[in-house]
Amino acid sequence: MQRIGVFVCHCGTNIAGTVDVKRVVEAVKKEPGVVYAEDYQYMCSEAGQQKIADAVKNEHLTGIVICSCSPRMHEGTFRKAAEKAGLNPYLVEIANIREQCSWIHKDMEEGTEKAVILARAAIAKVMLNAPLQPGESRVVKRALVIGGGIAGIQTALDIADAGYEVDIVEKTPSIGGRMSQLDKTFPTLDCSSCILTPKMGEVNAHEKINIYTYSEVEKVSGFVGDFSVDIRKKARYVDMDKCTGCGLCQEKCPSRKTPNEFNRGLNTRPAIYTPFAQAVPNVPVIDTEACIKFKTGKCGVCSKVCAAGAIDYTQKDEIITREYGAIVVATGFDTINLDKFDEYYYNQSKDVITALELERLMNAAGPTGGNVVRLSNGEHPKNIVFIQCVGSRDVTCRGKSYCSKICCMYTAKQAMLLKDHYPDVDVHVFYIDVRTPGKNFDEFYRRAVEEYDVDYIKGQVGKVSEAENGRLLVQGVDLIDNRQIKMEADLVVLATAIEPNKDVRKIATMLTASIDNNNFLTEAHPKLRPVESPTAGIFLSGVCQGPKDIPETVAQAGAAAIKVVGLLAKDKLVTNPCTAQSNPLFCNGCSACEKVCPYGAISYEEQQVMDGGVRENRRVAVVNSALCQGCGACTVACPSGAMDLKGFSNRQILAEVDAICR
């Protein structure tokens, strides 16, 4: 005989404001099986939990229903409370009468009525709950970091420094990421490479860190603590062990027409190349699309000049399988494609560039050796116009609805540096708002205006076109003066919106990590768990989670690392006991369940079954509860209902349906 206790939480006035909790208590007392019901201000408080413990003891409860906030908030709390009181934690059910009732309904009558129904459904379910015992699973003491930018580098370093092995998978030939493309960093104006290169070196030298550059994640299986990942190491055609990094091959390579990705296509590179001088590892790769040897079979110059004999045209992609306990996504960002923004003349004019391209122009190691010139004619620009929010804060299909966050600051930085290097230039910045919430950020922006005379114009540019004299004609508006501006400019710099790296969707799917409409990975909780994915064992670092600058990225990278370390420090993980289970009496052995299981948790074996007095050998499904994650796909694939899910059994769900539809 079940003895159910029901506890109704006021949640201050959050619930009690629209739900008459006393009436809920009275109503549930009449439900069959309910022997105890009470209400309390805050069930989740110590005192509230004590009330549960007391009732379990005094009333010999066999199950508990808590009518409170979402189970996503406090299911764990109440399960622990039950466990402390000596009740199996899985004999607890939550009726969500806050998020799904009191907060959305205004009428007391309506709210109360619905709360009672939700409570009844929870009671009907808990009557069928079975005590469940969680299993254990191992923790592989190694982490995978996907992406070798500053986010990935910092995460890897922090994990490795805590004593755990880390692998970094980076799809380009070198780690370093976007930060390696930058010239100076705000708000202190240190040189980007000067602060990044040492970290790259540190990663490279760290005995706990293993770097797979020019590699991609191909397949992920398993679950928290025990992932198995296939990594495709793309063929470099250069032997990593033999190459000395002398660079002669790159110098001699006759194919030199490929746009240089690292320099955003502002110049070209050879077919055999390292992206930049400080690349880690300093081993080139051959771009087979560009390589004459690969295209025609004739050439082989690199092989001839390589004293180390490191060139190997026969290399093949290699797939290695590694096990990890945790995975950090640090896939970073790219700038959006500007094809839909014709009015800025970007595709038409070489003198309209993105801010990231300007970084390369300003960088001493860049295509112009740090000279900012008009790419159309090599002349120094005299009048430079910056346009903010290009594609950011744009709800149309052309842009991104979010603020890219970093543009205001880098524009101030770039404007200041330009004025610093070339005091003769005029710099105008068209802006909607200047957003500078950060330590020393607003001061930095004001310096651009007050010390460097950068002309900030509150307004936007409607059109960039070519003037008759070959300069650019910028038509904008100054909303303060209420005048339309038409000015000639030599260089127009677009603060192009940033978006998550294109590969992130593929990676998120492999990791079963959720992703939002803008392709940013979703965090487990926007405030309380910002560096974790809702998928256990997956952590987020850097811009893949949302726009952020370097200090924020580094901070988040460290936070992700400590979360990983916290996970890897455990010897065993407690597994979800809500797993599928097959009843051999009803199992047909048809394999339908096996086919839909995403975890390969179902296998088949011959079992002797005693059915209605007849002993028979049957092929029956067996679930590996360590692998099963409890999705329930198998339960519906199974026509006979042999497969059921603990914690969400057919009978439990049907009982809820019945209770709601009563």
Partner: protein
């Protein structure tokens, strides 16, 4: 007053069962709640681990016991917490709904909507729309079990 007359006078109050997957849509419903985005109290949510947990039997049972509409919400295709669950759910529900339609049951009574944990607004909008649709369809009489009628 006869039973029939009593029923006729009764204002139609739909009963709607919403199956929500734990990871996206239930969280989306929570977000709708925390954002105070109202939708009618006629909607009652049942939490399931994944949209693929929803058996056609559950849906038919809801109708049998008096539901006027059943909606299934899950993660957006591609975003399933269990990677593939909603793809199976999508096929199952497409076929089931098509069959119900073939049997002459009003096709507006069943619906699938993908609602992410971030889409509190969409959750609330969807529920508002769905409830409105059920109001326009009226009481479910084509898939009901007379024994379960309250009178």
């Amino acid at each position: 007053m006869s039973i029939e007359a009593k029923n006729e006078n009764k204002e139609f109050k739909p009963l709607i069962v919403a199956f929500c997957c734990n990871w996206c849509s239930y969280a989306g419903a929570d977000l709708a709640g925390s954002s105070r985005l109202a939708y009618p109290a006629d909607v009652k949510i049942i939490r399931v681990p994944c949209s693929c947990r929803v058996n056609p039997l559950f849906i038919l049972r809801a109708f049998q016991k008096g539901a006027d509409g059943v909606i299934l919400c899950g993660c957006h295709p591609g975003d399933c917490h269990y990677s593939t669950g909603n793809y199976y759910a999508r096929r199952r529900m497409t076929l089931l709904f098509s069959m119900l339609d073939y049997l002459g049951v009003e096709n507006g009574r069943t619906r699938v909507e993908w609602v992410s944990a971030a889409e509190g607004v969409k959750f609330s909008q969807t529920m508002n729309e769905f409830v409105e649709k059920i109001y326009s369809l009226g009481e479910n009489v084509r898939l009901e079990d007379l024994r379960c009628k309250k009178n």
